[in-house]
Symmetry: none
Subunit: 147 residues, 2 copies
């Protein structure tokens, strides 16, 4: 079970390659085989799953019913953008243009570890996201955490 944490300011080169920070790599299971799946996230960012974590997600998608139109929509939207990528010798994954466009990413990214997955943001959009929250961290904490 992965436990990613921390945020990292990294760059994207003109081939669409993004380095996976060393501190995050140390938390990737051996079973992931240096392979990651990138797809759209919630809000305008990208989610990166190590292969072992992706497999869990895939399993839960398989339980959905292809004859249910809402399920179909969800499966299509999620899988449409999903791309597998293996680390190169420099520990980078390459992200297709379409995904970079989806997340409005150009040259710089903010990489955030969120337990079982990794998020990739346009740094400016992440700032806006934080500012757009109506409630403060403290208020949300009160309702989200029981304790």
């Amino acid at each position: 079970m992965s436990a990613f944490k921390g945020s990292y300011a990294y760059s994207v080169d003109n081939k669409g390659r993004v380095n996976i920070p060393a501190k995050l790599r140390k938390n990737v299971a051996r079973e992931a085989n240096d392979t990651f799946v990138v797809t759209r996230g919630y809000e305008e960012c990208l989610f990166v799953y190590p292969q072992d974590e992706w497999n869990k997600l895939e399993e839960s998608i398989r339980q959905l019913s292809p004859t249910n139109s809402r399920h179909r929509f969800f499966m299509r939207a999620l899988l449409e953008r999903a791309t597998e990528s293996q680390l190169d010798a420099q520990a980078r994954i390459s992200i297709p243009k379409e995904l970079l466009q989806f997340a409005h990413i150009e040259n710089e990214v903010l990489i955030i570890g969120v337990l079982e997955h990794i998020e990739i943001w346009n740094p400016k959009l992440y700032d806006q996201y934080l500012k757009a929250q109506a409630e403060s961290y403290e208020t949300v904490a009160q309702t989200v955490l029981q304790k």
Copy 2:
């Protein structure tokens, strides 16, 4: 068990040939024998099954009752257009005109991997399909995924 994912903008030549993206091919079982079955999908797109996955589907259709009129309709609609096609040396399948017309496909297609099958769309129709959804991806995710 196939696990297709990702979307790919490809072209159809004037012979009705469509390339199966390399990343999808890597997920096709050896038992499929480079053979695919194309038929109508849900919404106005085409479904492509590798032979091994098609066989599973066919098996479940056999369980239907030919004396039930709704079952009969379903079987006819599905099988009527089903066409077998084997990859050529360039990894393309050829799709009959009738099926291309059914899906309103002309020169360009969007190919989407959806776990056990592959979908082929007119890119514009797929856009419309996405926009026509009443709920956002985030909202659907919340109710569709338990977690």
